[in-house]
């Protein structure tokens, strides 16, 4: 029966047993001892995981280093002769084909720079009248 049922609420706090737990007791799970073979398999799995991670990190580092390292044909050597060599090697015909490409880009009908000026063609003073 609930102690509050008699109407005396002051008794509840005093008489409540301290640290009483109403929770059901959890049954202890017996710890199973692993066999030698199981232990070694677990260890092997752990080592494999670690090796995989190290391998992944190494690959990522390699990617980063290769991207950072300047490529041989990209080194800008301003004013040095070997840089200009490929341009000099172009034949007259190749240069003309390059010019044609430039001319074609300039002749793009969608890029006509002289379209009619976008001005206000409806000016005039609006009055309140």
């Amino acid at each position: 029966m609930n102690r509050r049922d008699d109407g005396d609420q002051s008794r509840f706090a005093l008489e409540e047993p301290l640290f009483e737990s109403n929770k059901p007791m959890v049954e202890e799970v017996p710890v199973l001892e692993l066999t030698e073979a199981q232990l070694s398999a677990k260890k092997k799995k752990k080592v494999l995981k670690l090796a995989g991670l190290v391998f992944g990190v190494a690959i990522l580092l390699l990617i980063a280093i290769s991207a950072l390292a300047p490529k041989k044909n990209e080194i800008p050597n301003v004013g040095t002769e070997p840089e200009k060599a490929p341009l000099v090697e172009k034949t007259q015909l190749q240069l003309r084909i390059d010019d044609l490409r430039t001319d074609l880009r300039q002749a793009d009908p969608n890029k006509q720079p002289l379209l009619f000026p976008p001005l206000n063609y409806k000016l005039g003073i609006t009055t309140n009248e």
Partner: protein, 288 residues
Amino acid sequence: MNLRKRNLFLVVFGCIAVALAVTGKSVTAQGTSAAGGLSAETIFLKRFSSEESKKLIRLYQDQYEVYRQTERDFTTLQAQYLQLGTLASLESAVVSSRAIMLVRTDVLITYHELLAATLVESIGVELELKQDTLGQLQQSIEDLKNIRVEIAASNDRFAIGAVNSTFEEELVPQLYSVAYKTLSQLVVSDLQNVFDKTKQVYAELKTELTAKEVTKLQLEERARAYTEVDAAIAAVEVQLAAITAEVKTEEKFDERFYQQLVDKLQKVYGGLSQIMTYIEELERTSHE
């Protein structure tokens, strides 16, 4: 154990971030350099090669800036007049409306002078057609100069309103027509010019290739390649001829006609680009 796992995770994550940042940076740099070549601004300015047209384009850009500022002032003063309705606010609105009309006329005069200079410099427009259009452009410039004098001489809002009506209702449609006629001729002549040059380069390439000794198999391959290039050239030639005839006979030039023309010319542009790719490919074979 958990701490060690977390540390490992952080190291891996850090490496991925670094790798992504570095590769992203290099891709962006490549994109910029690849897109390099000619920027839109360079293409725009390269069009105006002579000293005269360079001077005119600078003047046009400056005047357009002044117009934008004057338009802002006009809009503000017009709104103030509508709100206050006083004589002082009306005076400011009238003065600003005259100012914007004068600047607008200046922009249009320079624009037409620029069109005329560009048409004179263009190669590929028939001489008779060019002279006819140049005459019309000169007439537009004269009309604009005359109306500018009238605007400057208008002192009250009624006089300004009258001259503005003449300008917008009579002169502007005429200006539109002449400007779009000129633009149509320019846009066709630009591609015609590139087409003529392409044919010349192709002929020279053929001569150069003929001089080289090749095997029978290579000779057959080359013959098939020539057939493809010749067909592409013939197709572009037919398209260009039809478009040129259309521009010659058209009587009502406006923005709509011009847009339709640009759409048709896109096919020619694509065809020319294809021919150039073929020529580049053929040229490369001469070094093999």
